[in-house]
Symmetry: C2
Subunit: 225 residues, 2 copies
Amino acid sequence: MRNRTDVKSTAKSEETRQKIFSAALALFLDGGFETTTMRDIAAKAGVATGAAYYYFASKDAFVLAFYEKSALEMAPLLEEALASSSDLRKRLAAILDVKLAYFAASRRLLKALAAHVDPEHPLSPFSEATKAIRDQDIACFALAVSGSKTRVAADMDSALPRLLWMYQMGVILYWIHDRSADQERTRALIDKSLGIIVRLIQLSSLPLMSPVRRQALELYRLVAE
Amino acid sequence: MRNRTDVKSTAKSEETRQKIFSAALALFLDGGFETTTMRDIAAKAGVATGAAYYYFASKDAFVLAFYEKSALEMAPLLEEALASSSDLRKRLAAILDVKLAYFAASRRLLKALAAHVDPEHPLSPFSEATKAIRDQDIACFALAVSGSKTRVAADMDSALPRLLWMYQMGVILYWIHDRSADQERTRALIDKSLGIIVRLIQLSSLPLMSPVRRQALELYRLVAE
DNA sequence: TTCTGTTCTTGAACATGTTCAGTTTGAGCC
DNA sequence: GGCTCAAACTGAACATGTTCAAGAACAGAA
């Protein structure tokens, strides 16, 4: 565990770390994650191979650091996006807009993150390592719901944000592999799916639907542990 | 492309191939995919490292071969399972039973297969390399539906089998990572989810539901390409 | 300034997937 | 038997993620 992310380091040290991180990102974005070598990164940063490992525990750690930086930088943008409307559909669309716009330049790198489903793998969106970001992200969806004028049944409160987060993951996954020009298919997917989802949420909150809802929630709880 | 799977080879050659394949499987099942070395495999099979590559294009190819063998061996079991009842729920449960029973001994190895979502990765269940198996598997679900007494709307015919296949993939993924004793949670998941799914299928075929169905199908077609 | 301990940095070494130029084997033919 | 050629096999070499023992740089104490 030699990752120095947590260490209060000198300005000089921080500078070196940045130099290595930037070199890594530049190479990843240019040539992809797989084809970029740790030796390449070190060379581009002007340090020895070992130096990269002094600051980043592994090659994967670069992607994790990128993910963390992204979450940090997107937080204010998301807050802003949620200020625009109280319509649930628009609020959800705004979140997705921010994410896709932010990641537009780094779709290739994101592939390295979204390639794993195994919760044991650090780079999985379901892993322990990404839990903090995930929780923060889920909180954002909770805000999207609670700040909207759409009323949601009380028993859905805890489940809905996580379900929406999973929906978002699906959209992003689709987007990453979307080969259509300008990712217009993803745009269409969002358009269609958001309508269905918002309608479902509204329907599910009718008193009439209470037994159905309970069943669905039981299933959800089983899966969500 | 040196994989010899397709070559009509001599008995001696086939024997060597088997020896290597068995060694690989034994080591994978015993120590896991990641920790097993190509050198280990070759050593256990009593050949040089290069020989393994003469018969299998890569380490991943072993898993692919295992997957193919599984599909082949399960085909008659699945056919048998589908002969037992005309109740859709029971038919689907029977398919899942066969799969989980068959894979019970090799859950660890299956992880290597189910770890990837990237359709570009050969080991992904969505890849080109696994297309044949996938199609065969989807056909099995088509049979499960068509041979049941449950009537399905005509416009769902092409989509439903693939949707059920995806459902199955979800169940298997859950099962692989299920840490509960004897995987009883997966059992509960199947129990609950099958009920919901069959009900959904029945509901969706009511004439009343036709507009909802059309919407859902539009979304499906967009995603399924 | 000199000493001391910590932080940084280096580059060689290691493990492992993969490649490949070569050697051995064996079947078919004379 | 001796020859030929393709199939089967070998093991050294390579690329790359990672480790680590050793040294350099530096901050603070004396």
